[in-house]
Amino acid sequence: MKDWRQRRGVLLAGGILIAISLALLPFALAQVGTSWVRITNYAILYVLLALGLNIVVGFAGLLDLGYIAFYAVGAYTYALLASPHFNLHLPFWIILPIGAAIAAFFGLLLGAPTLKLRGDYLAIVTLGFGEIVRIFLNNLSRPVNITNGPQGIARIDPFHIDGVNFAQPETIAGLQFSGPIKYYYLLVLVMLAVIVVNLRLQNSRIGRAWEAIREDEIAARAMGIDTRNMKLLAFAMGASFGGIAGGIFSAIQAFISPESFVLVESIMVVSMVVLGGMGNVGGVILGAILLSFTPELLRWTVDPAQQALFGRSLIEPEVIRMLLFGLALVLIMLFRPAGLLPSAVRKRELTGHA
């Protein structure tokens, strides 16, 4: 009992500490440079995507290599309903649920025909699905202009609530709240909500059903789990998270084009999930933050290092950045094959007790 109380105290203190640091972080970053707030925002978007994909890959064990398609669906839903393109300007709290619902529908669309597929067959079909969505976005500008093709959609509305516009800077109580900082707080709130949903799902009836399907689908069915509905649910739920993230992305960027939703992005999100430790919410968050910050950190360090060593840039910084990034993927996997923070299930398997 005492132990439990102590633990609760520690958890509470830790929670407060994290809350304070999350609240202060953007101001600290803004001191270094506004671009870092923006980079952090994109990192949080990747966290949202990775957590959404974690439901499909980590919990239910369905390898999805076309996850970025749902992000695209969410982003385009927002862009079409809140931009001069169709001259629609709906408020975001209406569009985001619509985007999530449409993305979930696309998730079902992908899930339904692929229920019988397993492992790598599923991987290639999801990959193909992602490409199909991208090709359609690229070409649905003729004969009727829906997506504006490769040019993309510009001048997308930012979020606004009651006259508070998220794109405008504002001073509240002497503090300068720039646009990116406002989005940062919104993103943190969404992220916390998604984390809570993820954690609650993991130990729910549904989460355990997914775990059973992941470990052995036939045994799961024998135990009375409706594997068909559970798999569809995983696809739909993962997709809806992607859709929400896409909507926010659209509003932050104010411009989207099919370029943002290429296969490499899907692969990036899968890498985040696997590298962090699939199925483990903390690991997935770590993976997403690490992989989205590493290229940026390299961007800031590689070129100065080259200048200092050789007096000039020998190799394009972008190229070195990608080389080091590829190398990091290989090395991390070689030394931590189960991910940086392996999931509890895998630990349980290794130690042999619950």
Partner: protein, 327 residues
């Protein structure tokens, strides 16, 4: 009829190259159940090396055939080395690891190879010197060029050679045994590590030749060409049933033909003005206009739609039997 035959010939040529690349995927998958995402980059490196050699030898006035053969002869060992290197460094240490770990290293290797190629050969699209004189022969209203004939002959020749290697030689027997059960194969005296390395090397050699063929056929090479080609070839391997060698050949050829026919006909089929009842209602159709729903820019969609349809009805591919247990 002419367009049909022409598209079949074009599709067959592209498809046979897909098939050779697909063999690289399927052999590796069959033996260690790994999607070698970096295989497309091996093909790219083959094309790039051949480009350098051909470009350097073109002004010497040697016979074109000798130049292309020299290019291929340089590309093959380099690709073999790349294939062996990545198996040794990135995949072998992870053989007992969770299934998705080598997938991530494969992605890492692919990024590394792409950017090394960028460093060596720049970002530009490289144009192969046009040294091979191309004659066209007309068969039944469709044209086939000497290059196409050569590509078909080389691809089918290599497929036949591979089939003999896998089904008629001791190494092939060892490969099939390892694919069935590596532990037991090891107990029977098969050096499993050597067999797996050999598989990677053979796949890379096939990839190198495919890269040269692809480069000379389309006349261009770029450091990003591996990903698209790899994607198509991987789809072809899955279409035929991944891990299955005849399946990869069938899948590649089929995919090439479907793609070519799709690109050739979709524009006409979805031109709503061609249907009288609709044409009256669409203003664009007045005066011989067109209202094309899907143009040939949807070419890439075909490969994937066919893939999905086939897998819906045959979840383990056209010729595949074994199904992986989980992701």
């Amino acid at each position: 009829m002419d367009t049909f035959l022409q598209q079949v010939i074009n599709g067959l040529t592209a498809g046979s190259v897909y098939a050779v690349v697909a063999l690289g995927y399927t052999m590796v998958y069959g033996i260690i159940q790994l999607i070698n995402f970096a295989h497309g980059e091996v093909v790219m490196i083959g094309a790039m090396v051949a480009f350098t050699v051909i470009n350097a030898l073109a002004p010497t006035g040697l016979p074109p055939l000798v130049i292309v053969l020299a290019g291929t002869a340089c590309a093959i060992p380099i690709c073999m080395l790349v294939g062996y290197g990545m198996e040794r460094l990135a995949y072998r240490p992870l053989r007992q690891a969770p299934r998705l770990a080598p997938l991530i290293t494969a992605i890492g290797v692919s990024i590394i190879l792409q950017h090394v190629a960028l460093l060596v050969w720049s970002r530009n699209i490289l144009a192969f010197p046009q040294i091979i004189p191309s004659h066209s022969y007309v068969i039944g209203g469709a044209a086939i060029t000497t290059v196409q004939i050569a590509i078909l002959a080389i691809c089918f020749g290599m497929m036949a050679a591979l089939a003999i290697l896998v089904y008629r030689t001791p190494l092939g027997t060892a490969m099939r045994a390892t694919a069935q059960n590596p532990q037991v194969a090891g107990l029977m005296g098969v050096d499993v590590n050597r067999v797996i390395a050999a598989t990677f090397i053979i796949g890379a050699a096939l990839g190198a030749v495919a890269g040269v063929l692809f480069g000379t056929y389309y006349g261009i090479a770029q450091y990003t060409m591996g990903s698209v080609l790899g994607l198509k070839a991987f789809s072809a391997a899955v279409l035929g049933g991944i891990g299955n060698i005849p399946g990869a050949m069938l899948g590649g050829v089929l995919l090439g033909i479907v793609e070519a026919l799709g690109a050739g006909y979709i524009g006409d089929l979805t031109n709503l003005c061609a249907y009288e009842t609709l044409a009256e209602r669409i203003s664009d159709c007045q005066g011989g206009g067109n209202f094309v729903l899907f143009g040939s820019n949807y070419q890439d969609v075909f490969a994937f739609i066919v893939l999905i349809l086939v897998l819906v009805f045959r979840p383990s591919g056209l010729l595949g039997e074994r199904v992986g247990e989980r992701a």
